[in-house]
């Protein structure tokens, strides 16, 4: 495992990129920061700028407008950067796959490392997803 990945798994700072979600996954992500789940005890926190982030949490379906922005966000993030798709929309566009404003899946735009399905996934599921992500990175 190289030194960069080792540093990354120690304490993952996440940036929350909402691509036309319904808000619910986003609220559940914020819920992770509040007393019941409190992911800061696991070394994770929300980064205010994508340039400080180790991981992108992507929610929702990319529409024609957010598609370009998500690509830009990924390019701006320092590498190595991991991408976590949160919610059924981010995993497979849910019931919006027939929409005229839904041109592609998230994994067509950025490489996704972990998929966390659910509408919305419970905060516990998100923590479990990130735990699996760390294991995956450590085995690299």
């Amino acid at each position: 495992m190289n030194i960069k990945l080792k540093a990354l798994t120690k304490s993952i700072w996440v940036f929350h990129a909402a691509c036309s979600p319904c808000n619910n996954c986003d609220i559940e992500i914020l819920d992770l920061l509040t007393p019941r789940h409190d992911i800061e005890r696991l070394g994770m926190t929300l980064a205010a700028s994508v340039r400080h982030a180790d991981a992108l949490l992507v929610t929702g379906i990319p529409n024609t407008k957010t598609k370009e922005r998500l690509k830009t966000l990924y390019e701006q993030a320092p590498k190595p950067c991991v991408v976590v798709a949160i919610g059924t929309c981010a995993c497979g566009r849910n019931m919006f796959r027939d929409s005229y404003n839904s041109p592609c899946n998230i994994d067509d735009i950025v490489p996704v490392d972990v998929y966390i399905p659910g509408c919305p996934p419970k905060p516990e599921a998100m923590i479990a997803g990130v735990a699996k992500l760390i294991e995956k990175l450590k085995s690299k």
Binding site: I27, V50, S99
Partner: protein, 392 residues
């Protein structure tokens, strides 16, 4: 216009969890103009709903917005029941009312927490979200999901509230009241919160009428409008409650209206649980006749309006959605202009904007090459102001 400086906020910024772009035009510290660019959330829901049959649409409109995820299906089923003239069983009406009011509690607590965060009171944020969790637990107990409850159905509700669950529900409400007292005390008595929120972002009664503002935002400016009272639906005409109205129109009044509405919601839920009759929960609707109908619901943010037209087949031929934030967000143009940049963060958030609800039209961005700065600066400015005032 060259002397003006543009402060772009967004589209990705920690100010709000949804993508949207504000352009603040400033002269020194003063905000002189404001542009709002939305369209980052448009998913074509109205068009999608015309390809689903009447019983599938509630699941779709539920996903318009995750915070008001029962207001939209509620308004939709009201519209279809208006269209077909369906008589909904009494018990189903009470269950709908209980779910809608619990949603108001969790939505207002959510806003309260975020508002506390914006002015640098992270303690309020943590408290509010801590006391929101028991409400989500109750939702999980009733419907199996913390959000997106899927309770609404044309002609009734999808799941019953079991009689043996009612004591747990009542207990959750009883435990919520001391927490609400705590918030009321914290907001009303704190001199710094008063200094930050009083006289900031004022919307007068006339401006509210001009900009068609709705919900708690309008009620904080002295407009007595509430769909639950004006055109009762569900079981709101069978219980006793008050519309909370304040005259000041500033952010402090908006906060107070929301806190006091929480007490009314708790009282409505208690009365509904006591009065709820036994019986059927579903009218077993078979066919939807041709025609058109409207449904109005008081969502946590204001009036939510749905229009449905049917041609006798099993799909709506037209489904129109109008969400409250559509009007409320535009009122930022009067509320934020004239204030300082450090007050802009809380002023823009004061209407409890919900962009997911609002995005019914696609707004095309011509792609300006202006540099997008970080909205974090704005929150930091706002939090520093509170720190300075605390220090004094």
């Amino acid at each position: 216009m060259s002397h003006k400086i543009v402060v772009p906020i967004g589209p990705y910024h920690p100010l709000q969890e949804e993508p949207e772009l504000f352009r603040l035009y400033v002269e020194g510290e003063k905000v002189v103009d404001l542009d709002i660019v939305i369209g980052y959330n448009h998913r074509g829901i109205e068009e999608l709903s015309e390809h689903k049959h009447f019983d599938q649409v509630p699941f779709l409109v539920e996903r318009i917005c995750g915070i008001c995820s029962t207001s939209h299906p509620f308004a939709y089923v009201n519209a279809v029941e208006d269209l077909a003239g369906i008589q909904v069983p009494e018990r189903a009406l009470y269950i709908r009312t209980i779910i809608a009011e619990m949603e108001r509690i969790h939505s207002h607590l959510l806003w309260l927490g975020l508002a506390g965060h914006f002015i640098g009171y992270n303690t309020v944020w943590m408290w509010a979200w801590k006391y929101r969790e028991p409400v989500l637990n109750v939702f999980e107990m009733i419907s199996g999901n913390r959000n997106h409850y899927a309770m609404m159905k044309v002609g009734g509700v999808r799941r019953d509230i079991k009689n043996e669950d009612i004591p747990a529900l009542k207990k959750a409400m009883d435990e919520l009241v001391p927490a609400l007292d705590l918030f009321r005390g914290a907001v009303v008595d704190d001199p710094v919160i008063q200094a930050r929120l009083k006289g900031i972002g004022i919307l007068t009664k006339e401006q509210c009428v001009d900009w068609c503002v709705e919900g708690p935002t309008a009620r904080a400016s002295g407009l007595n409008i509430d769909v639950r009272k004006d055109e009762p639906y569900g079981a709101y005409d069978r219980v006793d409650w008050n519309v909370i109205v304040h005259e000041d129109g500033d952010i402090f009044a908006k906060t107070l209206v929301r806190i006091l509405e929480l007490y009314e919601s708790v009282s409505i839920i208690r009365q509904c649980l006591d009065k709820m009759p036994c019986g059927e929960i579903d009218a077993n609707v078979k066919d939807i006749p041709p025609g058109e109908g409207i449904g109005r619901v008081e969502a946590p943010r204001g009036e939510c309006f749905h229009y449905v037209r049917s041609d006798g087949t099993n799909r709506p031929t037209r489904h129109k959605v109008r969400a409250p934030s559509y009007m409320n967000v535009a009122s930022n143009k009067v509320a934020a202009v004239g204030g300082t940049i450090s007050d802009a963060a809380i002023t823009l958030a004061a209407v409890d904007p919900c962009y997911c609800c609002t995005e019914r039209t696609a707004v095309l961005d011509r792609g300006t090459d202006k540099k997008i700065m970080n909205g974090w600066d704005l929150i930091r400015l706002s939090q520093e102001k509170t720190e300075r005032m605390r220090g004094k």
